[in-house]
Symmetry: C2
Subunit: 244 residues, 2 copies
Amino acid sequence: MTMQQAKICKGCWQQMHVPVPLHGVLSVPFRAVGIRPSKMNPNTCTICESMFTTVMRARKVTIDATVMFADLRGYTSLSQALPADAISRLLDTFYDDCADAIWEQDGLLNKTIGDAVMAVFNFPIKWPDHARRAVLAAREIQRRWTEGRNALAQEFGVGTAELGVGIGIHSGELSFGEFGRSHRDLTAIGTVVNTASRAQTAASPGEILVTEAVHQRAGSDFPDSTPKPYQLKGFETPIALYAA
Amino acid sequence: MTMQQAKICKGCWQQMHVPVPLHGVLSVPFRAVGIRPSKMNPNTCTICESMFTTVMRARKVTIDATVMFADLRGYTSLSQALPADAISRLLDTFYDDCADAIWEQDGLLNKTIGDAVMAVFNFPIKWPDHARRAVLAAREIQRRWTEGRNALAQEFGVGTAELGVGIGIHSGELSFGEFGRSHRDLTAIGTVVNTASRAQTAASPGEILVTEAVHQRAGSDFPDSTPKPYQLKGFETPIALYAA
């Protein structure tokens, strides 16, 4: 991993100017009271995760953010053909590639769902160019995966075409916070999340599809892309998507 | 909530005969070292979650278990029509109904994924009749949701038919443990998980579809069900599913 590890929590520093040590001897008293690097982004801490209840005194907030879904294509049929051990190594590598690429852009790896990963950009670390950062993370996932999959495909005796990643990205206002009362879950919900998920479904292996909103915000990074209309499940009218 | 709260961790007691207090004054020293009720099942503790590394010294195990997926139908189109606040109340209620029904049967609410919930039965609390328990939990989710949705549908001005839950269940050997090295995630993977997920996709609102394996194990609970063949995405041959 080439990523630089943050010494203090980037979220707490950016939002409250409080230095929370994440590593080393200074972090020991913090760890004793349960403050440690977040699993969703190790450059932020668990205070950031529970910021809603402890700092903001609200369970949910409406924020402008970017959501990215990345999905390992062919996983269902592969998991029938390969032994459990091979599948688990495949997922380990995929999750790690995604995590590194997302964290490099200060995104939050919010969920892993079987063969898919969901990331949120602009929380808790804020960046005005969060849409662009999501696109950069997506391209880095494709780059890392293309680089690493050949060895895996050869070892497992499957074609590399069966091991592609499809990615969808959308930006806009969403609800972020804790959902569920008895089982509390920190996540994002709303149309932005669903649209990103559906755009991911439409992407071919190796492809990144982004919405008009992402294209407008990160436009300078798309030299010559023309939108195509896609009929996505659950949406009445076709949605225009750009290849990134 | 009618569920009885366990006083000691049911997982640690069942597997190691160690009493780990979950509530009250006896739990204070345990909480100080980070041992508290698990978010995935409050009748077990965080030791159970990390049992792989701390007790079993393996990151993953192959276990016989039952996986259930429950999905809130119409969520994508509803989330475009309703305000964020209404959607978040809808999800809170759905997650809570699922959590209560799953925990009553000693299942693990492993993940919430937008409008869907994934549960695993037979870990960490073991029951030989885990397939039957999953079916009972599924029926309880349908019962609770049908009872509660009318008020929600009326309040939000949508039809109750738009607010149905589809459920899929499958049993068999799966990999359970921690996946990913930099972002560690405790979950189940394998064909059993994918098949349960696909069976859920095939279920109509209000329906529970289970596989042959579940039917065989929990058969006495299905007085007169005939299997129907379903062509599921990612599977070459049709899969026989029973309505439960």
